[in-house]
Amino acid sequence: MALVTPDIGLIIWQLIVFLIVLFILRAFVWRPILSALKAREHQIEDSLRAADNAKEEMEQIKADNEYLLQEARIERDAILKEAKEESVHIIEHAKAETSDITSKMIQDARDAIEVEKKAALTEVKDLVAALSLEIAEKVLRENLSDDKSQKALVSKFIKDVKVN
């Protein structure tokens, strides 16, 4: 019966000691441990989330890069195409301009030749007229007695003309 009879002295000691242990452990042990555990769990969770985020971001960046690359390719193609067109255009334009200029130059040359030709002809005509007049004058002045002397005279004049 003594086995199941509570002993007041032991109950008092048990109560005091247990409560002291409870309060000491609560203040200096359980609180720091539990908060450290919680903090670590949060940290792990945060790290995992951050890793996930980083992965997602990475993928986003990759996709962005792919997009930018694609865009750059398209732009390059466009630029190349434009440049080609431009060069063709420039060449054609240059060709057209060149042919215009040449034809104009040819025309100018022709015109100049024509003018020169006309001037030369006029001069020749004038010269012929003047010579004819001179010859006629000389023939008339020499009293043309015979054919022989006339002929000699004429050829003498022609000779003179040639010398001039």
């Binding site: 003594a2 086995l3 002295g9 032991l10 109950i11 720091p32 441990i33 539990l34 555990l37």
Partner: protein, 348 residues
């Protein structure tokens, strides 16, 4: 499959070797003790006296036969007031004698004049209570230091041994049974678990006190659980006690039912901690009685063969007791958490 069996085999071998060592030591202890007992030929061996002596509280701490520590006696009586003296004063060469007007009969102190004495001595159990408390504080301040030192890093050493247990109590006992309000009960649950576990293990040491198998200790722990449950009781908890039938019946019908139900419900408040008290006390004390009985068989039959078989059996029982030590701590903590959970439950 094959790998598993190899592993099991190696584990088994280690356990076997450990057992063999114990078996070598234990019969020799029994033999030695038996030898000394035989000296007092006329003294008949009384196992129930031996067992009761081991289980009960005492004013002396007999570490082994012949090495005794006399613990201080602290008493208060109306006639003589406070008195503090060594329990050695009650002993005169193994004879129990009266001292200074006090008499001690089977470790119970009273006045020679027959008056009542209020005994708050440092008995064997109180001493082991102090050891248990000191051990708790030493071990867990070391664990807490680990958390400060290894903040944000993996646990190390003693910290990594206790962390899974603390996590288990938090996640599988407190969170599971109390719900989101588990936080404020954690210090009590952790303290009570480790107090009982360490106390149980201390009790298994040879020469140690049967602290957690003492009804006063389990009573105190159970009363603390009862007080916490009662003071954290929410509306739902009290409604369950005052109006357990709820809206299932008109008031007139319920009144008659409640004449029976109210006493049952009120008794129910106290049976829960009562079961806690009895369960821990009975389990630990029964384990001690069983081991002591098996060892006593050798002296009852005065036989070495029985002693060897008994030692094997007692070793196996000791292993079982190591498991019971943690199991009973777990059960006490789990049921306390369950009662707290019922107290803080919200209406649903």
């Amino acid at each position: 499959m094959k790998k598993g069996s190899i592993l099991n085999q190696s584990n088994f071998l280690i356990i076997n070797r450990f057992l063999a060592l114990l078996l070598l030591i234990m019969p020799s202890l029994v033999w030695a003790d038996g030898g000394s007992k035989k000296d007092g030929e006329d003294e008949k061996f009384n196992p129930s006296e031996l067992i009761n002596h081991h289980i009960a509280d005492s004013h002396v701490w007999e570490i082994y036969h012949g090495l005794t520590v006399h613990l201080p006696v602290i008493v208060y009586s109306e006639e003589k007031g406070f008195d503090v003296f060594s329990s050695a004063n009650f002993y005169d060469h193994e004879e129990v004698v009266p001292y200074n007007g006090y008499i001690m009969d089977h470790d119970h102190i009273s006045l020679e004049s027959g008056g009542h004495v209020f005994d708050i001595s440092i008995t064997k159990n109180v001493l082991f209570l102090f050891i248990d408390a000191a051990l708790l504080i030493l071990v867990f301040t070391a664990v807490a230091r680990g958390y400060k030192k290894n903040a944000g890093r993996a646990p190390r050493g003693i910290q990594s041994f206790f962390e899974p247990i603390i996590m288990f109590i938090r996640d599988d006992i407190a969170k599971e049974n109390i719900g989101p309000k588990y936080g404020k009960f954690m210090p009590f649950l952790l303290t009570v678990f480790f107090f009982i576990w360490f106390g149980n293990l201390l009790g298994l040491l040879p020469g140690a006190a049967n602290l957690t198998g003492n009804i006063s200790v389990t009573l105190t722990l159970a009363v603390i659980t009862l007080l916490i449950t009662t003071f954290s009781g929410r509306k739902t908890y009290w409604l369950h006690i005052v109006d357990p039938l709820g809206k299932s019946m008109p008031w007139l019908g319920k009144i008659f039912m409640y004449l029976i139900l109210w006493p049952v419900e009120i008794i129910g408040i106290f049976t829960k901690p009562f079961s806690l008290m009895i369960r821990l006390f009975a389990n630990i004390t029964a384990g001690h009685i069983l081991i002591l009985s098996i060892i006593s068989l050798a002296f009852v039959f005065q036989s070495l063969a029985v002693g060897v078989v008994g030692a094997i059996f007692a070793t196996v029982m000791n292993m079982l007791e190591l498991f019971v030590a943690v199991l009973q701590a777990y059960v006490f903590t789990l049921l306390s958490a369950l009662y707290f959970g019922q107290a803080v439950e919200e209406h649903h």
